[in-house]
């Protein structure tokens, strides 16, 4: 019975220093993998090692990264949101239809012109939050399965994206929005939309790690019954998480619209699976309760690094698909490995 002799547990051959270092490496494993991959690419692929390429990788990560934040929050809370991709597309479409100047665009012009920035952002966030709230209603109030509820939203929201503009696209957003994606306004070689994504990661990593809300989210993902018994308002926290995930997807859609200067009916299709891949590669457990947003960010960067490398080598795009699949498998394997190493540590 080791249960009654706790001292045996602290007896371990590892020095505290080795343990601390190992813990650190395990906690930030994706970043080490990213660094390795980037080094290998830089050494083996001609023209890879350039500021332009790196800033491109970061720029490509912006929209996917933001979308992955919302998804991560819900998965950490022990739920799921398959609708983030369609929600982003809907927000993008609504913004594009209101403010774009060709196609299905209605060319609304606000005075002064810069007002389009806060107004379109608020609309995108609101669209996402509303869909998130309907998801929350079905999951929390009607106690329906989150997988089914958000799968349904994934489908019907995409239908809405196609119906609203009658299959047309809306192109040409005003400069008051476009400047976020224009190279001329890059800060430290990084486009402004990527800075927005980075800011989101910092803010939500802080919320997850340092605030009672984030702590409760993690606790619920770990053991919902225990959290409920401990007096945590589990239903409220999950509702807020769904609304947040929706609003964050709305933000992703807003960035996507700005990046592509408009929206098409099939905008962003396939991003859901990439977001899932990034989240899993980033070390978030699909069982809930475990995950760090810094890892997710590294996961997103890893994905777009691989995309970029494949483009540079002019390999067929189908390779990306295959590599992505293998990467997800590897990530899950790695997770199991990490767990067994950790168990030996403590």
């Amino acid at each position: 019975m080791t249960a009654i002799t706790p001292t045996t547990l602290s007896a371990t051959s590892l020095s505290p220093r080795t343990r601390a270092v190992t813990e650190f490496v395990l906690d930030n494993l994706v970043w080490f993998i990213l660094a390795t991959v980037l080094t290998v690419f830089s050494l083996t692929i001609p023209q890879f090692f350039q500021i332009g390429i790196f800033s491109n990788i970061i720029e490509q990560s912006a929209v996917l990264g933001v979308m992955s934040i919302g998804l991560s929050l819900l998965i950490i809370a022990g739920h799921l949101d398959l609708s983030v991709e369609s929600v982003a597309a809907l927000s993008a479409m609504v913004v594009a239809m209101l403010f774009a100047n060709s196609g299905a665009g209605l060319k609304y012009v606000l005075t002064p012109e810069w007002l389009v920035f806060p107004v379109s952002l608020a609309i995108a966030l609101a669209v996402g939050a509303v869909i998130g709230a309907t998801n929350a209603f079905f999951v929390v109030r009607l106690k329906m399965n989150a997988f089914i509820v958000t799968l349904a939203s994934f489908i019907w929201v995409r239908g809405l994206v196609q119906k609203l503009p009658d299959g047309r696209s809306a192109q040409g957003l005003p400069d008051a929005l476009r400047f976020l994606a224009i190279e001329r306004y890059n800060v430290l070689y990084i486009p402004l939309i990527a800075w927005i994504a980075i800011l989101c990661f910092v803010v939500f990593a802080f919320i997850l790690k340092r605030t009672p809300f984030g702590r409760h989210l993690t606790l619920i993902g770990g053991n919902k019954i225990a959290s409920f018994r401990a007096g945590i308002a589990t239903d409220r926290i999950i509702t807020v998480s769904f609304i947040l995930a929706g609003a964050i997807a709305g933000l992703a859609g807003w960035l996507l619209a700005i990046r592509t200067s408009g929206a098409t009916a099939n905008l962003g299709t396939g991003m859901l699976f990439q977001a899932f891949a990034a989240v899993v590669i980033g070390g978030v457990s699909l069982q809930g309760g475990v995950g760090r947003l810094s890892g997710v960010f590294a996961g997103v960067l890893l994905l777009s690094s691989i995309h970029t490398a494949i483009n540079l080598m002019s390999l067929p795009a189908s390779y990306t698909q295959i590599i992505l699949g293998l990467l997800v498998l590897a990530a899950v394997l790695l997770d199991t490995l990490k767990l067994s190493i950790r168990q030996r540590l403590t």
Partner: protein
């Protein structure tokens, strides 16, 4: 404020039906401040249902519950907790994905104000947790280790230390020593006595007769949804209690009365 003589918790004719099944058929008993009551009964006697009604989360079909001088029912564990009822459940109520400190303060995290934002006060929580766990003589290698890496005994120690620290007015323990070894059980029983000495009422659900007799001032036996026996611990014998649990109780009670 209530008078000293008044019971802390009084259950009057509590019933609970699940469809056609009557889990509780009119349970009445009371707990005074500083009193340890052992609640015994066979599997399916209605103990767990009773625990849920007292701890919040399940409302009785009929009957009255008077806690601290006020008649009330608790819609959620949070409501019961706010009123001062702490519960340690049979299946451990810990989140194994976070560390010892986070579990200790689950649901009542300490915060500090940083630029108008409520931020977790990790330092303060760690200090309090370390003190509480050291005071109880529990050895845990690090407070920052995730609970999944701790043994069953260490986990239970966190739960027990949690209720000792936060106290409240009434503590409900549902099979608290299921995962504990001999030494830790002894320490757990001491903890119960210490908590009761502070004037907190304690209800211990157990089916280990020896534990009940060691710690309880009074023994209440539930059988088929009713109270089959309610007697001071020093005025009965394990044999008699077993007769109450199995149903030869009426006979046994009458014989001893």
């Amino acid at each position: 404020m209530t008078e000293a003589g008044q019971p802390l918790l009084e259950l009057k004719d509590i019933t609970r039906r699940f469809g056609a099944i009557e889990a509780l058929r009119g349970v009445s008993f009371s707990v005074r401040r500083g009193e340890v009551v052992a609640l015994l009964g066979d599997n399916g006697a209605g103990k767990s249902t009773l625990v849920k009604i007292i701890a919040g989360g399940l409302e009785p079909s009929s009957g009255r519950m008077i806690f601290d001088g006020v008649e009330r029912t608790f819609a959620s564990p949070a409501a019961a907790k706010a009123a001062g009822i702490e519960t340690v459940y049979q299946d451990l109520s810990l989140c194994t994905n976070v560390d010892v400190v986070a579990n200790f303060f689950m649901g009542r995290e300490l915060t500090k104000n940083v630029l108008g934002i409520r931020v977790l006060d990790e330092k303060a929580m760690e200090d309090i947790c370390a003190k509480a766990i050291a005071a109880a003589g529990t050895r845990i290698p690090s407070l920052h280790v995730n609970v999944e890496h701790l043994s069953g005994g260490q986990r239970q120690a966190i739960e027990l230390n949690r209720f000792v620290h936060f106290g409240g007015k009434l503590v409900l323990l549902d099979e608290p020593f299921a995962a504990l070894g001999v030494e830790q059980t002894r320490r757990g029983l001491d903890m119960i006595k210490r908590v009761a000495a502070q004037g907190i009422g304690v209800i211990v659900i157990t089916h280990v007769m020896a534990q009940a007799f060691q710690v309880a001032d009074r023994i209440v036996v539930i059988r088929q949804g009713v109270v089959a026996g309610d007697i001071a611990g020093d005025k009965t014998t394990p044999e008699e209690v077993i007769r109450m649990i199995t149903g030869d109780a009426q006979m046994g009670r009458q014989a001893s009365a």
